[in-house]
Amino acid sequence: MSSAQVQGCPVRHGRDDRKSARLADANLQPAKNARVVGSFAAAREILRSPKVRQAGASADQIDLSRPEEISFFFLDGDKHRKRRAAVAGLFAPKTIVTRHRAVMDRTMDAIVADLQGRGSAPLDELSWQMAVDVAAEIVGLTESDSNVNLANRVKAVLDSSVSRKPGFLNTLLFNAKMIPRVGKFWKHDLAPAIEARKRQPKDDVISYMVKENYSKKGMIMECLSYGGAGMMTTREFIVMAAWHLFEKPELRERFLTGGEDDQFAILEEILRLEPVASLLHRKAAEPVEGTQGASVQEGETVCVSIREANTDEAITGPCPYELDPDRAKRMKVVGPYLSFGDGPHRCPGAQVALHETRVFLDRLFRLPGIRLVSEPEIQWNPQIQGYELRGAVVACDPA
């Protein structure tokens, strides 16, 4: 980085392309007593360390003696590795291309037909359908009466988690067992899928859970964590990326004329600036002393601030708040920076999410007459401790 560049574009005076930063600043709540870490290098070192454990409101209260009853989100060490390894193939780049891509295309056909038929539609409704269909295929929720009904039932369950606890997904998992709407989801979606997999196992999460004799509660918890981690996050990200592209004609042009790699670079850079999950909590089981600045005492809880780490000039270069799709390549960093976490818990669905977002937006922006007739309102979702975009309406010409 040259000093001239820095002088020409000091952080505080440079362009700030972020839409969610102000709301996040006002709402983000690190767990009590947690020290916030905002340096990218130190944060990554902590997240990668085998000496730290998941922490945060519900992780501390979970009964780890019954691993088959809890989502792997809250496990650590060998048990966690085993579970991740068992489903890793479902998220591999090859599986995305050979299997999930077909689901993405099929869902997009239905979304386009629906939008062209209605003339206009709420964007988050369309992105939700995409996120649900793709995650449902991975989980194995494929025996529901219709995928629109499945999406509505999943939404009803996830929406009914109301209390507020710090950290990504903590409320969701803690409250899920208390929610009566779970009953409907169990009856219409999960139970039929389990029965089908018992007769004929497939390559999906439910088949794995059946094979490993998960309890009913364990299966519900796992499905809901995929629901929260995979569906709610992707719904918001698709709308956020669309909003940026609607607003910036040059970026949209580049997105539509560039190759897939360039499209991913644009999406990843948007995600760097607008991370859906903002805070990750870890507690040190042993002292962590890294070479990149990580230093955590035994028993101490730290809160990794994804937003701060993603805009740490040491790793972004100058003007960290500017949307610059060439940044990651120039800085030789993975495009989403820490938006999918890092280390053993790094989001397994990262590539799936980026692919479905790419497929969705590529089709959407090629529709004749596509336009944003009303901008989204940006709200705060306490479950994922992240932004939520509601009220965006898109319209296009009839088919």
């Binding site: 990668r48 390894a85 591999a92 890092d342 053993p344 790094r346 397994p348």
Partner: protein, 106 residues
């Protein structure tokens, strides 16, 4: 610094000066070896940093570790020298290492 040679499917070769103590993948990315995509950033979760280690080097680089297995299996890459380069730490012992990069990382 140790010299490591990457050979692409079309036969073109690139020799890099690798830094000891960090992974082969990080060295490749830092030196612009395009065939190493490494989209998960070194977490053994994407399988897009695969290399095929030349037979005479396999004893030194070692066999596939447990953490690498799921992604290598999912990639369908059956080359006997396949490894995830993010899980190979560069040491002085790798001076002169030769690896091949696969035709496609996905």
């Amino acid at each position: 610094m140790v010299a490591i040679r990457f050979i692409a499917v079309d036969g073109s070769a690139q020799t890099i000066d690798a830094t000891v103590g960090i992974s082969l993948m990080e060295n490749a990315v830092a030196n612009g070896v395009e065939a190493i995509e490494a989209i998960c950033g070194g977490n053994a979760y994407c399988g897009t940093c695969r290399v095929h280690v030349e037979p005479e080097w396999r004893k030194i680089t070692g066999p596939i570790t447990e953490i690498e297995e799921p992604m290598i299996e999912a990639s369908g890459d059956t080359d006997p020298g396949v490894r995830l380069s993010c899980q190979i730490e560069v040491t002085e012992a790798l001076e002169g290492l030769v690896v091949h990069t696969p035709e496609s990382q996905s």
